[in-house]
Symmetry: C2
């Protein structure tokens, strides 16, 4: 799957879910393959609505079975690190958070991940759309468990 | 319109928009009439997904022509005050922000309101659903221009 194909497929999933994007947002959907070249299996599609010094909000789109690999958001510049709430909008997402049992989130379910806490997640067989509400995103500071990953 | 009627109507609008709520969230939709007893004209329905020390996310539901009256979020306890991004999901919302021209937000449009800045908003004739992404909400500190208002 190419990046352009992933972008088109994510846009179609968002449209099917009734989530309105501007044309510019649709064209700029971020496709992350984490440098592994296995996008269909390990990857994530993102629409960032806002990312200020204090607040960030995104839609995350996952294809069936697609995984966002294990990582954490460490403290940066005296801030305690990114705090994230994931709210499942459509489909199913299997969320794994350090020292907790797997959470299975379906539409309307949510979970909050404290700063600097390892987590990874995988969509179920229909894929998933997940809203992320968080403090500022600074992806370049994320720490991934797999040393091959480049964000 | 009673509070229960407003809650039912807001739940129906959210369902029509494909926004999934848990049964508990549906039953706990907040109905704010700001103490004025004119809910259909001046009021707001809210679902608060998360409100931590750092991050808050809500859905705001406005009936046709309904207005959320002018207010600001002042600094509290050394924090600069609440910063809000409003993203219109369905319908139309007319947003008035201190010293700016009126913004007309339709599905997919958004605007960020800095801390301690006067603002008010009114839905168009089809009502509106607006996602709010913000820093912590502390409604009891909000300052309304109309001195009759109790939040």
């Amino acid at each position: 799957m190419t990046e352009a194909e992933a972008r088109g497929r994510a846009a179609a999933m968002l449209a099917d879910a009734g989530i309105a994007l501007t044309p510019a947002e649709r064209e700029q959907i971020e496709v992350a393959d984490f440098g592994l070249g296995q996008l269909a299996e390990i990857g994530l599609q993102l629409v960032t609505y806002v990312n200020t010094e204090r607040v960030c909000a995104k839609e995350l789109v996952l294809f069936p079975g697609q995984t966002c690999p294990e990582h954490r958001h460490p403290p940066v510049d005296g801030s305690p690190g990114k705090e994230e709430t994931f709210r499942c909008r459509t489909g199913t997402v299997h969320l794994h958070v350090e020292d907790r049992d797997e959470l299975v989130l379906q539409a309307g379910d949510q979970a909050t991940i404290p700063p600097d806490t390892l987590h990874w997640f995988q969509a179920g067989r229909d894929g998933a759309i997940v809203s992320e509400f968080s403090t500022r995103s600074r992806d370049e500071h994320d720490v991934f468990t797999d040393p091959r990953i480049v964000r």
